[in-house]
Symmetry: C2
């Protein structure tokens, strides 16, 4: 069983999400996940540190892509252009396979308050990664923090739209529209009283 | 010991913060806190659910003040005017006594990763309270979320400045300036490349 297993990561992820939804996150063991996937516990631990990483392992990948793309943006890029580059860079993560499992992931997290907190912390970590990358480009601290919050808000809005079961639009198109929308609203907060979309 | 103890809450809070800094949050027991304050465990539990509430009990008060002040703002108030009212409303919390214990609170949280996560979650809860109150005024969801993030950022920036040991300026003045600053930056994110304050 030590040899390479085709699609082991995907099989483990699908098995884990199905079990989280069926039996609850807390009641699901790594042994059950491996068993459902037709693999061993040791194979599971080759891909994931623990069962929580099945749900949140993508956090470091997203944070890394955000930071790298902002650092790689042209020196003349504006703050919003940096955010656009960051959102564009994570499109690779949002594959059709990921779209298929998104509803289960959402249901598993929604059913567990500890996982909901973990999701909020993930959001804070992504904002910190964006803010750090903007500071490295010599953005002042206030601008870096504000832009990071706006970037994460564009990301989470775009993710929710992309993950909707009937959506077929690619992530980057949705994210570009979400960022444009937020930028427009940011300029009118001092004038808006009752703006409905 | 069942009768009212003068300043019991403040004495318990000061004792708790001192012990958290001296021995660490995890190593401090409620019995030790009560003992240091010259009170009993049962008096402690009349004011706090657990030792974590000593650090984060203010969260519900802040969230309630934010929500109430936004709901009470004039119907014609803009989104930014609602945020300004929210920040103004929490000034009552930031007394000279609170200023005195702020460095200890900060040190206790900085020394413990679980408490740092709790602080991030507090921030998320405050943002949710603001967003909900803005939605109740018929702000659209995107504007409500963006404004809530901006409000919490203004709040946390203002709190850090207010809590600085040498600060003597009242919270509301600092918060007003922080919000104005953020609003100005929000309008220029598409043009800024290297803005230093």
């Amino acid at each position: 069983m030590a040899r390479w297993q085709p699609n082991a990561r995907e099989r483990l992820e699908r098995a884990a999400l199905a079990l989280f939804v069926e039996h609850g996150y807390d009641a699901t063991t790594v042994a059950e996940i491996a068993d459902r996937a037709g693999l061993t516990r040791s194979t599971f631990f080759r891909y994931f540190t623990d069962k929580r990483e099945v749900l949140f392992g993508g956090q470091d990948i997203l944070a890394g892509l955000f930071a790298d793309s902002i650092r790689a943006a042209a020196p003349s890029a504006t703050t919003v252009e940096c955010l656009a580059a960051a959102l564009e860079s994570v499109t690779v993560v949002f594959t059709p396979e990921r779209h298929d499992v998104a509803p289960q992931r959402r249901a598993a997290i929604a059913a567990n308050s500890e996982l909901q907190e973990r999701e909020l912390l993930k959001r804070a970590r992504l904002a910190a990664a964006i803010a750090d990358a903007l500071r490295a480009r010599r953005a002042d601290d206030t601008t870096a923090q504000l832009a990071a919050e706006m970037g994460v808000l564009a990301f989470s809005t775009a993710y929710a739209r992309w993950a909707a079961p009937d959506n077929r639009q690619p992530f980057n198109e949705i994210a570009r529209a979400a960022l444009r929308d937020l930028q427009a609203r940011a300029t009118t907060l001092g004038t808006n009283t009752d703006v409905r979309t």
